[in-house]
Amino acid sequence: MTEYETIIGLEVHVELKTKSKIFCPSTTEFGGDPNTHVCPVCLGLPGVLPVLNKKVLEYAIRAALALNCEIAEYSKFDRKNYYYPDLPKNYQISQYDLPLARNGFLNIEVNGQTKRIGITRIHMEEDAGKLIHQGTIATSPYSLVDYNRTGVPLIEIVSEPDMRSPEEARAYLEKLKAIIQYTGVSDCKMEEGSLRCDANVSVRPRGSREFGTKTEIKNMNSFKALQRALAYEVERQIAVLQEGGRIVQETRTWDENKGVTLPMRSKEEAHDYRYFPEPDLVPLVIDRRWVEEIRATLPELPDERRNRYIKRYDLPAYDATVLTATKEMADYFEECVALYPNAKAVSNWMMGDLSRLLNAHNMDITQCKVSPRQLTDMLKLMDKGTISGKIAKTVFEEMFATGKDPEQIVQEKGLVQITDEGAIAAVVEEVLAGNAKVVEDYLKGKDRAFGFLVGQVMKATRGKANPELVNRLLKEKLHSS
């Protein structure tokens, strides 16, 4: 049977978090009562004119530089014409043949190898509004329109068809998100729509040089959805080809509930956007010195930070990659290591219990109640022997739930480790006396019996006994008896 190769390219829209919209002074704040974050310009009333928000250009250049793009010296805006009630002018101001930036790339990790994914172009455009329906669009007797999002600045980032699997596509999107977040120009929240992604997918017999017919997939609202949708679509296309069928060039939508992609519109139904240069805006001539000024203010980006973590903190590459995946996570890590020098211990806790709890509660690190100081205080308590590693897990869960200091939790719950040799010795005596059979087994050479006895001592002390002391005392007693 023919083996197929997957070809994926992504078109990503990122909302820029400038204070005001791209062509007018209205606020970009998320939420607000419908149609309150608007003015005559973003409502497209007769006679109004757009004026480019310079901050938008600056943010777009910042993102493009972080993605290793070349910034155009001469760029312009164009009108993309189509009728839709959420688009007040019935055209979108976008960029067509002379985008702001081209020829960028980012690196992803594939099976421990670094792979470069090309970025074809980045351009600026305005967002549209939102239709609100009673029930679904098909059954609602009316549509309501909210223009609050109309004119919010977007950049569209178009990749090369360089990805060869849904996993690579996901890794690309995650990396893209991290880089953009590092630059500070967007929140990149998929749930709030500040990061949106469409995918172009095709398959071809392995070894073939020509691209197969592609489909465009829309409506993937999470990283998981992206990966699932692409996996489904790849399988669907292969199945069609294997049955001797042909792929139809079309736009398909991901149905999250059914787990399938469904046809949305064919190539024949595709819009003719009738792009032409926006006559209300003058072309952009971008000053090289300004570009260099922006470049000079770029922060350390994920790849650089990752490499620094490996060198400076002696972390394994895997740890460094995970910790630098979001700027917030990495910032948290660095605040911790500034207070507590054992970087690996911090990393273990962040990648272990902290990440597990965040995932379980569907939170990100910015919502975490445990401050870096509190986490490192807890690590210090462990080092001092006040609490054992096992108790620390209990303490941390409590810290995560309440935001209380670890000392307070240890006090309140009486979780201080027992290090009194006499007290532990007494418990050991009791355990040995109550488990004569096990003691016998141990003395006959059954090593496992020792572990059981340790467990019994810990149980009797509700886990608070210093594990090293328990071990030593048990061994002493057993061998002296």
């Binding site: 409502l43 009333l45 009728y83 009630p85 019935n90 329109v145 009738r274």
Partner: protein, 486 residues
């Protein structure tokens, strides 16, 4: 002395500051005139009588308090109904905007307010400024004050007729392919289209964004300079407005053309131009030559492509600019629509008139996939060639001189059946918009009692030189002093 409503702004200003009359009296004189002749002329879509009187009294209070008022204070102006006026209906003479009341002023309206003018109302026009006779108004037809059976020109016919008939002292129009200059010529008044970017377009309802420009109608060249002083200047709300200092345009009002080089493009004096018009332009040339101007023939070789170029670029931009009129947010909305697409189609089918639809279709076609390169892109290239023609001519000449229109005002209904014939009435003016340069039309004579206009074309931001030549011509003629008998 002429009636108050037939005086110029600067004459009225002199009377005002001498306290011989009040702004309220001027306002009343003009409204009385409107009441007397408007039935015949139909220049206005909306009158703003109460606002006007309140404003006139405010000016009078300032004068009484000894304040020095600017030259246009208390002067009645008419505004073409495609400029947004806060709280006052702005229709573009289209059914689709019959009820649209903007919550903001166009920048020019703000500027005129700052200059102390008194707005009389909003004037009739060809729907969305598409036309050359004001017969494409979605509401009614405006008459030419010199002969009510004839058209006032267009698309700013209401503003031109209002000034000619004494229903306003000055007015604003917009000019996309001749829409100020041609009606100025037909109505025997002064009309100037400034350099693209000289006057803010913010609040001007767009027809063709890269060609539209607002300019004044006045009774003489002095008033024209005063209006330019009031409306020109950079506007941060319009990215295409030029960031440059504006001169005092009255400083160009000099009775002197000695040594000025004036070129007469042979393409504007050839085929299709009424011999009587040619005759009048010939006399004007002789007069200017006798005053010391150096006049010679010149050529604009790509002139014959101006019309097709214009009728690709302007409709293309219009097809996109007019897309927003869909019944969703404001204006007319068709009833009984099945769904949103049906609502769009019914609203636009019922709301737009035939000429607007024709141009939307033309423009949509020109921008369509597969046709863009052959039509729109080609037109942009020819536009550059046309502009280069002018650049070359201006290497030799300070000003170009031509008829404003190929004939005097034509009869109502004469060209409505043949769009191409109608388009031809702009052949002398279109290229100036494509090149983005300034042009003025001034009264240059009469044929059978109908005014004929002479067009002067200038270098970019060369309005001053146009005013100088026009002023000099005016000092040696009296065509601008004639008034229609109504």
């Amino acid at each position: 002395m002429l009636e108050l409503y037939y005086l110029t702004a600067h004459e009225l200003h002199d009377l005002l500051v001498k306290k011989e009359i009040s702004a309220e009296e001027i306002c009343r004189a003009v409204f009385d005139r409107i009441d007397a002749v408007e039935d015949k002329i139909k220049a206005y879509v909306t009158l703003t009588r109460d606002k006007a009187f309140a404003r006139a009294r405010e000016i009078d209070r300032k004068i009484a308090a000894g304040e020095e008022v600017p030259p246009l204070a208390g002067i009645p102006v008419a505004i073409k109904d495609n400029m947004c006026t806060c709280g006052v209906r702005t229709t573009c003479s289209s059914k689709i905007l019959y009820n649209f009341v903007p919550p903001y002023n166009a920048t020019v309206v703000e500027k005129l307010e700052a200059a102390g003018t008194v707005m009389m109302g909003k004037t009739n026009m060809d729907e969305f400024a598409m036309g050359s006779s004001t017969e494409n108004s979605g509401f009614f037809v405006t008459a030419n004050p010199w002969d009510p059976d004839r058209v006032p020109g267009g698309s700013s016919g209401g503003s031109a007729a209002a000034v000619a008939a004494g229903e306003a002292i000055t007015a604003l129009g917009s000019d996309t392919g001749g829409s100020i200059r041609q009606p100025a010529a037909f109505c025997g008044v002064v009309g100037l289209k400034p350099t693209y970017g000289a006057v803010s377009r913010y609040g001007l309802v767009a027809f063709a964004s890269s060609l539209d420009q607002i300019g004044p109608f006045t009774r003489d060249v002095t008033d024209c300079a005063l209006m330019l002083n009031a409306i020109c200047g950079h506007d941060p709300l319009d990215s295409t407005s030029a960031p440059r200092d504006i001169p005092d345009f009255t400083s160009y009002l000099r009775n002197d053309v000695k040594g000025l080089k004036i070129g007469v493009p042979r393409e504007y004096m050839g085929e299709g131009i009424d011999p009587a018009v040619k005759e009048i332009i010939g006399q004007a040339i002789k007069l200017l030559a006798s005053l010391g101007a150096e006049i010679d023939e010149t050529t604009l070789p790509h002139s014959r492509y101006a019309l097709p170029t214009y009728y690709l670029i302007a409709p293309a931009e219009a097809s996109s600019n007019l897309a927003r009129y869909d019944g969703v947010r404001y204006g007319y909305r068709a009833e009984d629509a099945r769904d949103v697409v049906d609502m769009f189609m019914k609203t636009r089918s019922q709301g737009f008139g035939p000429e607007v639809k024709r141009r939307i279709m033309l423009g949509t076609y020109a921008l369509s996939a597969g046709y863009y390169d052959a039509y729109y892109l080609k037109a942009l290239k020819v536009r550059t060639l046309i502009k280069q023609d002018f650049d070359r001519a201006f290497e030799k000449f300070d000003v170009l001189l031509a008829p404003t229109a190929p004939s005097p005002a034509f009869k109502r209904g004469e060209k409505t059946g043949d769009p191409l014939q109608m388009y031809m009435s702009d052949i002398c003016t279109l290229a100036v918009n494509l090149a983005g340069i300034p042009g003025i039309s001034i009264p240059a004579g009469f044929v059978d009692g109908l005014p004929v206009g002479m067009q002067l074309i200038g270098k970019p931001f060369g309005e001053g030189t146009l005013l100088r030549v026009a002023y000099t011509f005016e000092q040696h003629t009296d065509y601008h002093r004639r008034r229609p008998s109504l």
